[in-house]
Each structure stands twice: as C-alpha cells, then as structure tokens.
C-alpha cells in the first residue's frame, strides 16, 4: 500500500470523511461517561470540596492546548520543509481548536481560582505562559488570515509556530522552575498519581474525549480548507488557461 498517496489533499478528503463519524460518536460517548464518573462516582475532595470537579475539564483543556500547539508546529514545519500542502492545511485546521482549548483552560482556571485562591487571575508563571500560548495561537491565526497568498501564509505561520514551541516546555515546567501559585502536577508519568482512582479515571476519560473531539473537528475543518483551496486553484487554472 502506498501511504504517500494520502498526502494528496484530493485523496485524503474522502478518507477523512469516512473517519469523522467514528471520532465524533466515540467522543460524545466518552464525554458522557467522563461527566458521569466525574459527578456521580468520584467522591468529594476532602481539601477542595466539590470545586475540584472543575479539574475534569480544566486539566484536559490545558493539556490539549499544549499538545495541539506542538502538533500544529510539527505540521507547519513539515509543510514548510517538504512543501507539503496538506500538512500546512492541517496546521491551520489545528490552530483554531488549540486556541479554543487554551482559552477554555484559562476560563475554567479562573473559575477554580476564585473560590480556592480568592482571585480570578494572578500573573503567576504558569498562567502567564498559558496566556502567551493563547496569544501565539491568535498570532498564528491572524498572520495566516492577513496574507492572501496561501503558501506564503503557510510559511509565515510555520516560522511563528516553530519559534513559539519554546513556550510549551516553559508552561510545563513553570510550576517547578518558579514559585507559582498554581499547584504542581498531580499526574506524573513515572510516579504514582496522587489522586483517588475514580478522580483519575474521570480525568483520563475526559482527556480521551477531548482528543477524539479534536481529531473530529480538525478533520471536518481540514475538509473545508481542502475544498476552499482546491476550488481556488481550480478557478485560478480556469482564468489562466
């Protein structure tokens, strides 16, 4: 099987169309399951009371904001280095969903901060670097929107996306490097997590739901981008010939 053929937008378009329903349905089911476990199975936290239930959406949203940024930068970089149109379109498609999740993590974080810290916002290292992440997404989106020539827009976006990647490890390690108001990581890859199993389960189910959701909406938007750009090319070809 020749996998390279899927790098062609016109071949990828119908394939994405077949995949979208599966990702959409499984994401909806996992959101329902995650909320059920999060609100009916997970016990009340003895320190934070019920406020901690915000974490089931806040933590996955924050992770998605960071993961999607790295993914966007990789696709943008590949699209630039190998002149791969589909990869650049993928980066554009990811940017909107990444910005949405980053914004969601900031808002839900404020909703958590107000009752537990007594403030909606502080200029703490993690929160400030997350705000910068949102600005990087917005910068990428508006830079691409401001350049009419799509391939030039892709290249300019790639430069911005790749430079901005440095911000992701800063966000991740900010709680260790600086004395932040934001708490440290609860779930570590090497150590045992420090939360009760149903709480962890709810968070991981919500994370899986957010991933599947992201794949679904990114593919749907990618199909729109392919349709719009290929239409543009077809019209251009008509004018020239």
């Amino acid at each position: 099987m020749n996998l390279y053929k899927y790098a062609s937008p016109t071949v990828f378009y119908p394939l994405a169309g077949k995949l979208i329903p599966w990702f959409s349905i499984s994401s909806a089911l996992l959101f329902a399951l995650g909320l059920y476990v999060g609100f009916f199975v997970a016990p009340v936290d003895f320190q934070q009371g019920d406020a901690y239930r915000i974490m089931f959406i806040h933590v996955p949203a924050a992770w998605m904001g960071m993961f999607l940024y790295v993914l966007m930068a990789i696709y943008a970089g590949v699209g630039w280095a190998f002149n791969a149109r589909l990869a650049s379109m993928m980066a554009s498609s990811i940017s909107i969903t990444g910005a949405m999740f980053t914004f969601l993590s900031l808002v839900t974080g404020a909703f958590w901060g107000k009752p537990t810290w007594g403030t909606w916002w502080v200029w703490d290292a993690r929160m400030t670097s997350t705000l910068i992440l949102l600005f990087l997404y917005i910068g990428f989106i508006s830079l691409q929107a401001s350049i009419e020539d799509t391939r030039r827009a892709d290249r300019a976006g790639a430069v911005l996306a790749l430079v901005g990647v440095i911000n992701v490890p800063i966000i991740y390690f900010s709680v260790q490097w600086w004395n932040t108001l934001h708490q440290g990581a609860t779930i570590r890859i090497l150590n045992k997590p420090t939360i009760a199993p149903p709480m962890l389960a709810a968070m991981l189910i919500m994370l899986a739901a957010c991933w599947l959701y992201s794949v679904a909406v990114v593919l749907i938007r990618l199909r729109h981008i392919i349709a719009e750009r290929e239409l543009q090319r077809a019209r251009f070809a008509e004018v020239v010939t």
Partner: protein, 44 residues
C-alpha cells in the same frame, strides 16, 4: 446519592463548577456550530 438541590449547589461551589462546564459547552458548541455554518457557505 445526593439530593437535587445539593447536587446543584455542590457545597457552595455550584456557581464556579457549573459556570466552568457551561463555558465549556459554549466553547465546544460554538466551534461545532461555526463548522456547520462554514459547511453551508462552502457548499454554495
């Protein structure tokens, strides 16, 4: 199992917890709706 009013108030954190989830619904629902609209405009 908690009563409905206890479930809504969530030990006094109801506003913050439900506010967060309501916002999540608006953000995710908004993205889905805008994609639906984009579909209609690109179909034309």
């Amino acid at each position: 199992m908690r009563s409905l009013s206890e479930f809504i108030s969530l030990g006094g954190y109801g506003f913050y917890v439900w506010g967060s989830y309501l916002f999540a619904l608006v953000a995710i629902g908004g993205e889905v709706l805008s994609l639906r609209r984009r579909k209609k405009s690109s179909d034309k």
